[in-house]
């Protein structure tokens, strides 16, 4: 197992290197630069700003320099926000995204697993059709529709929550529901499929025959196999959830990391783009690994391979 993990980590190094290189050159190929603005700055001012950030050096030299800084864990200054470094910005915004992501993940798992399990157990009844229809809607309704709908109902109409912001504990509810809904729907469908397959297996019948109770069969025997598809989906999905969502953060005014993925590119904030891309890439790599390890642990068949 340790060897497996170590190998995966080593494999991640070239992946991250390629991502960093591609990001660097793609960003520089994009027309427009960090100091383009509607009111043009004079050529002198532009030249001084470029010199300040080392953008006047030959491109390849800049590339080497940035790679060196990245290896030292220094993501560089932000062009858009002078006085802040990319490290600071990520350190500031990531905990918010992490919190929202965890809450959304809880929504996704609790609702998704429950709905999926019940639907599988009561196949082709109302207990199956209603939650699965809801899940279909959850999958189809984009967050930019779901969010304003929830705000309209619960914030503006019923006045239970604030329309946006991230100040009070109750400000977490609507964004978590909005962000979690899509994942809940996906989890529900995967879980239903997984359970349907497992419940027909011989070992479940054996467990029942031996007189195991409902809860025991369900949680002890069926759950492990039933959630396999969910686990492999969750690896990359959790990375996406925890690193923030541009849409949800914009709609609800959440000061998270997700918006930087988009705004940094718009602003041509080169170091910020590199920082957020690499941060996200590392997250995906690590969580995929965690998902793989979990799958091996859950599925005895894989252990021998």
């Amino acid at each position: 197992m340790l060897r497996f993990i170590a190998r995966r980590f080593l494999e991640a190094i070239p992946v991250l290197f390629i991502i960093a290189t591609a990001t660097f050159f793609m960003m520089r190929l994009a027309p427009g630069g960090p100091f383009d603005a509607e009111k043009q700055v004079s050529a002198e001012v532009r030249a001084r700003m470029e010199a300040h950030y080392g953008l006047d050096k030959p491109l390849f030299q800049q590339y080497l320099l940035q790679m060196k800084h990245l290896l030292q864990g220094n993501l560089g200054p932000s062009f858009k926000y002078p006085g802040r470094t990319v490290n600071e910005i990520i350190a500031d915004a990531f905990p918010v995204s992490l919190e929202l992501g965890c809450e959304a993940l809880a929504v996704a798992l609790v609702f998704g697993l429950a709905a999926g399990m019940v639907a599988a157990l009561k196949q082709n009844s109302a207990w199956d059709h209603v939650p699965m229809a809801l899940a279909m809607i959850g999958l189809c309704v984009p967050t930019f529709v779901m969010g304003p709908l929830l705000i309209s109902a619960f914030a503006l109409h019923l006045d239970w929550f604030n329309a946006a912001g991230w100040f009070f504990p109750r400000d977490r509810v609507l964004p978590a529901l909005t962000l979690g809904a899509y994942y809940a729907a996906y989890v529900a469908r995967l879980c239903r499929g997984g359970f349907l397959e497992v419940l027909n297996q011989d070992y479940i019948r054996t467990a029942r025959a031996k007189g195991a109770g409902g809860a025991r069969v369900l949680f002890k025997h069926a759950l492990r196999g039933g959630i396999l598809p969910v686990v492999s989906f969750l690896g990359p999905a959790v990375a996406g959830l925890l690193t923030g969502s541009f849409v949800v953060e914009t709609i609800f005014g959440v000061p998270g990391l997700g918006r930087y993925f988009v705004t940094a590119a718009f602003n041509r904030d080169y170091f910020m783009v590199m920082g957020s891309v690499l941060f996200y890439a590392c997250f995906v790599v690590v969580l995929n690994l965690v998902a793989d390890v979990a799958l091996v642990w859950l599925n005895p068949k894989l252990r021998f391979e």
Binding site: M117, V118, A164, W166, V217
Partner: protein, 549 residues
Amino acid sequence: MMNESRVARKVYLTLLTVCVVALLAGGCGKRETLAAIGDRTQELRLNNEGEPASLDPAVEIGNIEHSVILALFEGLITADPKDLSPRPGVAESWKISPDGKVYTFHLRKNGRWSNGEPVTARDFVQTYHRMLTPSLGAQYSYMLYPVKNAEAFNLGKITDFSRVGFKALDDYTLELTLHSPAPYLLSMMIHDSWFPVPIAVIKKHGALDDRTNPWTKPENFVGNGPFVLKEWRMNSHILVERSPTYWDATNVRLNKIYFDPTESLDTAERMFRSGQLHSDPQAPPSKVAFYRKYKPNLINVYPLLGTYFYKIHVTQPALKDKRVRQALAMTIDRHAMTETIMRAGEEPAYFLTPPNTAGYTCQTKVREDAAEARQLLAEAGYPDGKNFPTVEVLFNTGVQYHKAIAEALQEMWKKNLNINIVLHNEEWKVYLDSLRRMDYSIGRASWVGDYVDPSTFLDMFTTENGNNETGWSNAEYDRLVHLASNTGDRAARYDAYQKAEAILLDEMPIIPIYFYTRPRLIQPSVRGWYPNVIDQYDFKSIYLVPEDN
């Protein structure tokens, strides 16, 4: 099988119950809104439309930064919120020499930084020295260019700052010497680039010319304005509190101001509606008509010092002939655009400088006359649009109505001139880059004045101006604009500007479309706030009155 499904069903029902209880517990019943609480405690909540890039008045200043900086710093001059006329700030009084070239400011003796140090004339001189230091790369350093040798120092042509026209005669007397009379100097001085910064504090946290110096973080911050910086949480809020050291602290009525960075117009409007904000400067265009009709006490629509127009790349073969450009400008139904597309009370623009800019209104107007336009196009060699090449209209994505306006242009030109236009949109920075490299034929543009004077609009189309971006150059226009900026006499200046703008509107390197307005949502509890063309707050005069009083 029955057994398991019963368990699952139980789990399910428990979950639903928990959810319903949680939702109910979340709020239940009408709560007092944040705005209503603020009314009682004098805590203003404003949407500031974005995250400030920096709070250093020398570094990067747009509207977003400007609003916060106005609360944190005070210049020599402040602006009357109603008509923006100059009022005493740090300077108690000032004298202008008869030739208009020497300004002497007498500073008040009780001006204090938030660390208790006095605000002196030396602070101002050092601030301007920093602002003009080439290596700082201050974007708005040109705001100081009316001062003698300021430009030369900023461009590195001279290195001795004592030759620049800033002089502290004593601790409380500051003298400015200009290279030529600039009657708009006082109105320029309400801009952040003229605000003092605490040099000693900046030095403590890094180099003076380092734009990334962290002195504006709340823990390091020192200012001289009516408020001090307390919290700055990126993309969440900025909180400022009344400064006890401010010279006029007893007349500041607000205790706190929260600046909210919400960019999304819809989110901000919902926050306003749910009572989280006292004011949101920009109602979504789709909601303006609703508010004006049904909630007129919550919206205030007023003109801004800004123009929406199109630039024409005049060296392009098809657009070289001014008759073609005139024809294009004459066949736009501006009224239809403001009424059906914009719908926020915008005024159609028949010239570039917004009407009544410091008393100046252009007397020449673009005529809308399709028949004459067709005639002009025919004279230019394109009768009924024949042989006219397909021209591209460039606009940027991200704002919905840019596209709608470009489509309307396309339609109007097809109908009136029978010419074909293709629309081309580009992402913001790509679009800016295309304009800069003049890789376009006709391109969307807009301009918001830096200060209230026609020069901030008309300077733009002189040959050497970096924002010209049209390839248009006219010696007489350049001469008139330079004449105006070197003349102290207002009547003579405005006469020169009238002539210059008439040339601009005859040559048509640009097509004005409309003048901007601000559809501001504002709670009736906000008092002492006045609309003005640069949408500048006067936080000293604003206060809140609870609704039921």
